[in-house]
């Protein structure tokens, strides 16, 4: 045990380092280089303090949640891992313990399941699925084999953990303020690994916009009168880091028609020489063909643009007309008196190191012939300089042609991939909307889960995943019921964490779930089976991912549906939501979630009937099974209040049970009782339980506070969920570490 303690303290030390590094981030860690290059950590603000002042309470919470969620995720993971590490030794020392301890919690729950009616069984089922948690469990299994294996396993785990943490610690984050069309603004945290697509998804969630492909994030530079839309695949942090400390640059979130216009009307770009009428009458089939020819081959084709543009002479105020040509390799011009054959062309600029910007009002500023100008410059150049190239077109259409052509040449396949992703996103969003409008009963739950899983797969850490789930849920949320869906997925994972132990013993983790509850599982599988088909329709890609990434996800929906019918749909929903958010990122957290599932489990019977109906009506509805429940509660007004209660409940629970997290959920949900038991037992038994507790409290606390603001609803719950991990009941992030320690100690003491 000493070893373990030593290890634990070591790990804590590392975590301290981590937290420090996170804390420091507000002050540019890299004060390197010349002053101008210093990184401004709060783009959109003149200084950091201002940025902090500007943050609304909500925003602050969000930011904290963002910050802490990462920490929590890693810490929880660590905690779980540590617990796991502990387990092996104990098992080796006393053979029976390993088996007994893990099973104990599970055994309880499973027993309940068997004894209780089908609903209970569902719960058990839910618990088992969490695949993500399985990994930690392995150690116990190996314990029996041999000490060396155990050690090897421990070492491997430690290495993995350490690597993860190192990665996490290095991540740079920025607080950014995004201006929205209506004059308001949103403040959000962006980390280095997020690309613009992620941030857009995040904003979709925050702003309830329609998610169409035109939504774009763009920067404006008032010093130079420039404006540039970020491409979806770009990392946001990098260009923002290039802004100067006193930069007046702004970040905007708005619809820009030109963002993907080339994919909607490729003929306007690739056949621009043809007359307007033929272009207008272009058949869709021919448009598709154009896209295929130019973007789907082995090489991306750039529209062959050529024309006279005005070039601003270096340092002078005069503009000179030249014949410019666009090629994949750059912009060229034909020198006076020479032909425009390739060999005579002079290279004007290549695109490796420059970006293309729209320039505004250069007519007055630099006496440009027209106001339709674009600029090519290195992204880090922020002031007027001889290294900025100014070009001026005759009309807005030519300007669009050139800017788009340059983007195609510069970004190539990534440009088209971005568009495809954006379209996918839109269809998801609209699909939800349709579903909701068409049948209130339908629940979006299935869809969200796929999307979530998808993200998970693609993104390494909780960071990315969080924002993404958010958007999806948001879309739905705007319409009404959507929120519920997201929650369901999370619970399964969480619950899954507990159950895993038993499966482990049996042999392979995945199989266990079915084994444990043969009777119960059937319902979920059936449901899931029916659901899957619909998702494919909406998103062919989505359905498969969920199962792969989180086996747990599919099950959740069923559970939810079941739970909803019973009663308290709103409450049930709300709690799960936060829980799911919080938990999702940190695989290990699951413990809080489990409780909800149990509740769900009771109702299961009712849901099934609705599903079939939905299915027959429309595939999309399928997924919704949960929605029915949600839809009922979904009515926007109702929700907010609903939300409030859960948190409180959780709080109470927390007070009752010393371990904050587990109790809250349990009290709220009637069925939970069994789960709580299992949880507590699990906590006593080993690692898994402890981690969960922390997460639950925070959500409850934050949500409780926020109950009031209806519009923010969605965001708030999300925040709460995230904050949950870090904030703790008090919402004081600073205490998080100590809280965690307390919880851990308690756990240990119980043992």
């Amino acid at each position: 045990m000493d070893d373990i303690d030593a290890m634990f303290s070591d790990l804590l030390g590392e975590m301290d380092l981590l937290t420090q590094s996170l804390g420091v981030e507000n002050e540019p860690p890299n004060a390197i280089t010349s002053p101008p290059e210093e990184v401004n950590l709060s783009p959109g603000f003149t200084d950091l303090n201002e940025s902090l002042h500007e943050l609304e309470d909500d925003d602050l919470d969000v930011l904290m949640a963002d910050l802490m969620a990462d920490l929590n995720a890693t810490e929880l993971k660590l905690a779980v891992d540590i617990e796991n590490l502990k387990v092996p030794p104990s098992s080796s020392a006393s053979q029976p313990p390993p088996a007994t301890l893990p099973p104990a919690p599970q055994g309880l729950s499973s027993y309940d399941a068997s004894i209780l009616p089908s609903p209970v069984s569902l719960q058990g089922d839910v618990g088992t699925p969490s695949p993500s948690h399985l990994s930690p469990l392995p150690p116990p299994q190996h314990a029996k084999p041999s000490m060396e294996e155990i050690e090897a396993q421990i070492k491997a785990d430690k290495i993995r953990m350490a690597l993860e943490k190192l990665k996490e610690a290095k991540v740079k984050k920025l607080v950014v303020k995004v201006l929205i069309k209506d004059g308001s603004s949103k403040t959000l945290m962006v980390d280095e690994r997020q690309n613009v697509r992620d941030v857009l998804d995040n904003l979709f969630e925050k702003t309830h916009c329609d998610c169409n492909v035109d939504w774009s994030l763009y920067e404006t530079n008032p010093d130079l009168n420039l404006e540039r839309g970020f491409e979806d695949h770009e990392n946001l942090v990098e260009p923002l880091s290039g802004w100067t400390r006193d930069s007046e640059n702004k970040l905007h979130f708005d619809e820009r028609e030109d963002k993907y216009e080339v994919f909607k009307n490729p003929q306007n770009y690739y056949l621009w020489k043809k007359d307007k009428q033929t272009l207008k009458d272009m058949r869709d089939k021919d448009k598709e063909l154009l896209i295929e020819e130019n973007f789907c081959g082995t090489s991306i084709k750039v529209p062959d643009l050529e024309g006279a543009l005005y070039l601003r002479e270096d340092g002078k105020k005069s503009w000179k007309q030249k014949l410019f040509l666009l090629r994949a390799s750059g912009i060229y011009y034909a020198p006076k008196g020479k032909s425009k054959t390739s060999r005579d062309l002079v290279c004007f600029v290549q695109f490796d190191n420059v970006n293309v910007y729209y320039a505004k009002d250069l007519k007055s500023k630099y006496k440009a012939p027209t106001d339709y100008c674009f600029v090519l410059k290195h992204p880090q150049i922020q002031k007027d300089s001889q290294y900025i190239k100014y070009l001026c077109c005759d009309d807005p259409w030519t300007l669009n042609l050139w800017v788009t052509g340059i983007r195609i040449a510069k970004y190539g396949a990534a440009f088209y991939d971005n568009y495809k992703t954006a379209v996918k996103k839109t269809s998801t969003g609209s699909a939800w909307a349709n579903r909701i409008t068409s049948s209130t009963s339908s629940s979006p739950s299935p869809a969200p889960s796929p999307s979530l899983s998808d993200k998970h797969a693609s993104q390494a850490n909780g960071h990315a995943t969080k924002p993404q789930p958010g958007p999806v849920s948001q879309d739905m949320g705007m319409d009404a019921p959507p929120p519920p869906p997201p929650p369901p997925p999370p619970p399964p994972p969480s619950s899954g964490s507990f159950p895993p132990p038993p499966p482990l013993q049996t042999s392979s983790l995945p199989p266990p779930p079915p084994l444990t509850h043969s009777s119960l599982p059937p319902p979920p599988p059936l449901i899931t089976g029916s659901f899957p088909p619909p998702p494919p329709l909406t998103h062919s890609s989505l359905p498969p991912p969920p199962p792969l990434t989180h086996s747990s996800l599919p099950p959740p929906p069923p559970m939810q549906t079941s739970s909803l019918p019973p009663r308290l749909p709103p409450q049930a929903r709300l709690p799960p939501k936060p829980a799911c958010r919080a938990k999702q990122p940190p695989g290990p957290l699951p413990s809080p979630l489990p409780p909800p599932p149990p509740m769900d489990s009771l109702p299961p019977p009712p849901p099934p009937p609705p599903f079939p109906d939905d299915a027959t009506e429309a595939p999309p509805d399928f997924l919704p099974p949960p929605p029915p429940m949600t839809s009922g509660p979904a009515s926007p007004p109702v929700r907010p209040p609903v939300v409030a209660p859960p948190p409180r409940a959780s709080f109470r629970g927390g007070s009752r049970n010393q371990s904050l997290p587990p109790p809250p959920p349990d009290p709220e949900f009637l069925p939970p009782p069994p789960p709580p038991i299992s949880i507590s037992s699990g906590g006593g038994g080993g690692a898994p339980p402890p981690p969960p507790p922390p997460p639950p409290p925070p959500p409850s606390g934050s949500s409780g506070r926020k109950t009031a603001p209806p519009p923010p609803r969605r965001t708030t719950p999300v925040l709460a969920g995230r904050g949950g991990g870090g904030g703790g009941g008090d919402g004081e992030e600073g205490n998080f570490m100590s809280e965690l320690m307390k919880a851990m100690n308690k756990k240990r003491g119980e043992d």
């Binding site: 280089t33 090489s299 390799s329 922020q382």
Partner: protein, 643 residues
Amino acid sequence: MADWDLSVTVEELGSEAPALSISVTSDLHIGGVILKLVEKTQIQRDWSDHALWWEQKQQWLLRTSWTLEKCEIHADASLVFMPQHKPLRLGLPNGATVRLRACFSGPVFRTLLGICRILNIRHPEELSLLRPLEEKKKKKERDALDEVYDLTEVPLASVSQACLYNGMPAHFADSPQTEAVYRMLSVPQPAPAPELISKQYRAASVVDKAHINSRWLDSSRSLLQQGVQENDRLWLRFKYSTFYNLEPLYDVVRLAQLYEQARWAVLLEDVDCTEEEMMLFGALQYHISKRSLSEPQTVTSNAAMDDLETALLSLEVKMDGDSNTANDMLDNMAAPELSDYLKIFRPKRLTLKGYKQYWFKFQDTGISYFKSKEESVGEPIQQIHLKGCEVAPDVNVAGQKFVIRLLIPAPEGMTEFYLRCENEEQYAHWMAACRLASTGRSLADSSFQSEIQSIRSFLAMQKTHGNSSVPAADDAINPHSLVSPRYQKKYKAKQLTQRILEAYQNVAQLSWNDALLRFLQIWQALPDFGLSYVVVRFKGSRKDEVLGIAPNRLIRIDLGVGDVVRTWRYNNMRQWNVNWDIRQVAIEFDGNVNIAFSCVTADCKIVHEFIGGYIFMSTRTKEQGDALNQELFHKLTGGHEAL
């Protein structure tokens, strides 16, 4: 029925031997004739590949069940009995000549399928055979010079679906000779000597290019029908510029040959490109040939994987120790250090100050410099962040000048620095570090060493060609081998090295395969890529014009000015017809647009095949996989033979 004598020449008896005369009746079928013939020769051998060729009519008698009467063969016919598969010398895109057995009796398209199967090239429909340019003088000399790779011994029956053996299709693994052939096929050739490039025929104008297209063989008739004899020389080339589903894993030979064809198209200015593009092509060629020497066809290991492994390794080592604090681990993963005395020069307006010496230290992706080594503990005089900067060499080996030019982006614009190194070694290290840093990678990156290596070899390239009397080292490449004659004349080797080196920055990190694909992509992105020209006379027009045939459209080019006059896209095409009697092609497009033209430089069958071929290429889909719809191809390209 009356017997009559039919005279048949049997090739096996030798060209001097008199024709055999056999007695036949008109209702005897071809199979019977062959049987009689074989009996009469009294030669014991496998005759299964033999068939009768009717010389006067220039046609094969392949339907053995047809009677002589049905074939309209009478006593005056002179037939030849010969094998259908004969050796053919094939000039490959890479310039090598391979000798293999090809089918002389089937349509060229089918012959081509066989050839590509032997050579292991997928999607043979994209290739075709054409007659080589006549080389007027010293033809025999050339023949002697050309190394011929012999594949005639490869049993055709053994050529099956590519099952790999020793990393190559089984039929190449039979003997060391065939293995060598496979290596020739699958690895790009070393850069050709500059003289070789300048000596080769270059199409100077669009009309010249149009003439090349008159050489394509008719894919619906057999080789023998088109006058190709045993051991004749033909070229194998990619004809249709739509390369379907290039897959480095399966297309080793196809990619290598495509690259060769592209390289020669660039070197011979077959396709126009700008100077910058030429330098990039040069850099890629350099990179590819370097990589083919060092790591032929091996997939370069994944850099990210390397990183992870080294990180894991160092972590593990640490874990074995007692103290495993995060600090230790971080220390352990720190990048290698690079520091030295260098001279720096910062050009500013109105300053004439020269280089000043400081102690330089490379850290992460930046450089800091100090007054001296002793003071390097304190605050640096300046730190320069290199991420996103432009790095350019300014090197003259003979003059012992090793300068790194740095263009550092800053909010106010770009700041210029010159770093002067003392010697090659120092330069190679610092240059490599700067290059990595400009792309955001630190010295810890696994590619650091290879980067240093490639810079050294570039310096070597400059050295060996500073004075041409020194024999080039084995792996040295003459920069003049990498560009077309136009630039050979325009630039001296030194200048050229400089230019290519600049372009090389952006591609140095590519793996062999990626470099190859990049070359092909840039080639395909050229505006004139994929255009096959034919001089035509449009109906109602009095002058010759040029028709450009592209994968997706036809363009009409004014011969005088060289401007594109009109463009018609295939997807607007309603139908096209060829009037074989007056040799005119007529095409109808949507909206009642009709064009008709006769072909001046090429047979209208060739134009017909191009159009039909491209339409066929566009019908290929992922679902059908590699299966080739031969019938459709024949329908679209066959012309009247297809009917």
